[in-house]
């Protein structure tokens, strides 16, 4: 047995404190009845909107985790790939189509065009970033590409601000995502359902791609051992580019889904979702694809349910505005207590 030292004591007190706050908040909510009185369908609303938000985090988190898997680098510019796709498709495709009346007449075709242009833009931005900013630093110390990624992130933010301006852009309204839809006597926001279903399809596709195709196998081989992968005849640089392309495509899809739900965009829109998705990737275990998907869904749900569940009961005013506090508290907790994430492996047991 390891000896019990005062750091363990502090960590245990910390755990007990967190659990105490949660229990106290729930007691306040359900027994003392502090805050609003929610019905079952209110809770379900929180859950579904959390799931929809979480699907977006998951889609973005997959890009973080895949790039980390092959390069051991946190690509902090990934949120900008998401922003680039959303902004460009809105300004160059969605708004002109709306003005021409096509969104009203051919909503599905317009949507397809928007998705395609968003994915193309995200991929283009990602490939340029990888080629110009990351590849020359392939053998540099790990801190160097990290700092470069932060620089690339700012570069793209202000590049797109220069292109499209700094004001909020409206995303056109699509009739099929407007209003609610009823299942089993319960109402759901159509947009949320669309986001959840699309994300599930994309994630299923990714899983198939990574597990069943030759290229997917190459990605996994490169993630594990670059020298051995080279000996198999795998072009490591090309595989890394493909990884960026796949990650950026999902960011592009997420960008359009985000636009459908929130319908307002500007050049800093990638920052918070990017950081949240990074949190989700760490939550699930960075480098793990199922981990990123699970982490994203988990983060979205806890963000949506956490405030009413235990913050309101503590008497916190405007608790729903504190969802970021919950997200980043989760990040800190995971980093302290389970740095390998929910299903990640311990970094120490790497390389036998």
């Amino acid at each position: 047995m390891r000896r019990f030292n005062y750091i363990d004591l502090v960590l245990w007190l910390f755990r007990i404190g967190i659990i105490g706050v949660v229990l106290w908040g729930m007691t306040g909510k359900f027994i003392l009845g502090i805050g609003n009185d929610y019905t079952i369908s209110d809770w379900l609303d929180f859950f579904v909107s959390g799931l929809s938000q979480g699907s977006l985090y998951a889609l973005i988190a997959l890009g973080y985790t895949m790039v980390y898997g092959v390069l051991f680098m946190i690509n902090f510019a990934h949120g900008e790939f998401f922003m680039a796709g959303a902004m460009t498709s809105t300004v160059l495709v969605a708004l002109p189509l709306e003005n021409a009346g096509y969104v009203e007449r051919f909503p599905w075709l317009s949507l397809l065009a928007i998705f395609l242009s968003a994915v193309l833009t995200s991929v283009l931005v990602a490939v340029l970033t990888e080629r110009i900013a990351y590849r020359p630093l392939r053998n540099a110390p790990r801190l160097v590409p990290l700092i470069t990624a932060i620089g690339a992130s700012f570069f793209w933010q202000y590049y797109f601000r220069g292109l499209f301006g700094s004001s909020l852009l409206p995303f056109p309204e699509f009739p099929m995502f407007d209003g609610k839809i009823a299942f089993w006597g319960l109402d759901f926001q159509k947009a949320d359902i669309a986001v959840i279903l699309t994300s599930l399809v994309v994630m299923f596709g990714l899983q198939q791609f990574v597990q069943r195709t030759k290229t997917g196998r190459a990605i996994r081989a490169v993630a594990e051992n670059k020298d051995a992968a080279t000996l198999m005849g795998i072009d490591v640089n090309r595989t890394i580019t493909i990884t960026f392309i796949v990650g950026a495509s999902m960011a592009g899809v997420a960008g359009v889904l985000y636009s459908i739900v929130f319908r307002q965009l500007n050049f800093v829109m990638g920052f918070i979702p990017g950081i949240k998705a990074f949190t989700a990737a760490v939550l699930g275990g960075i480098g793990s694809i199922p981990g990123a998907a699970l982490g994203g869904l988990f983060l979205g749900i806890i963000e949506a349910i956490g405030p009413p569940l235990f913050l309101e009961g503590l008497g916190v005013a405007g608790s729903h505005q504190l969802k970021d506090v919950i997200a980043f508290t989760m990040l800190v907790l995971v980093l302290i207590f389970r740095p390998q994430g929910i299903i990640g492996e311990r970094l120490a047991e790497k390389k036998a």
């Binding site: 051992n225 000996l231 795998i234």
Partner: protein
Amino acid sequence: MPLLEVNDVHAYYGNIHALKGVSLTVEKGEIVTLIGGNGAGKTTTLRTITGLMKPRDGHVIFDNEDVSKYPAHAWVSRGIAMVPEGRGVFAKLSVEENLELGAFHRNDKENIKDDIEKSYEMFPRLGERRTQLAGTMSGGEQQMLAVTRALMSKPRLLLMDEPSMGLAPVLVDVIFEAIERINQEGMTVLLVEQNAHMALQIANRGYVLQTGQIVLTDKADVLQKDPTVQKAYLGIE
């Protein structure tokens, strides 16, 4: 013409001059062994022959062609395969996926399937574990997998880096028997070993590498009787 000709190769790690003009040849059908102590440059020599490391000077000529001009990943399609040091199997991929990756540069899907089945006949243990993750197998089984995976690329030259490392003596025998059998079927082998005793027994010729230079080369049975080799690498006083 030799199948492989390493010609006055110089390689560096930063400022460290790791290979100081290494030259060696491997004829078709031979087993050639490269022996030497820790840090002599054995692995570095293999890394330059597989393109994982670019020599600063000198050439690697394979089958009359200077392969130094190709990127590292293209060498395997020229016919050079390597079983890397520490086996280098993909631990998180299944046995079958490892073998499929061995055939990565090939496009003859049907033949790949047949070859995988043949490997399972050769090493039934691998067949039993085809869906298992490679990392869950024992060291000996992983070594079998690494050898079979290298053969999946249909190489004309097989490089092996310390295949006996970390294996129980009984498994070392199994691996060396497998190397001999593969050689009898026509494969040319360049074998790097610290276990000079075993290596010289199965090899036709040997090279002794010391601090980045070839200091001795001869037929394997002559090297076995050489007093300096006996003293330095075979533990015979």
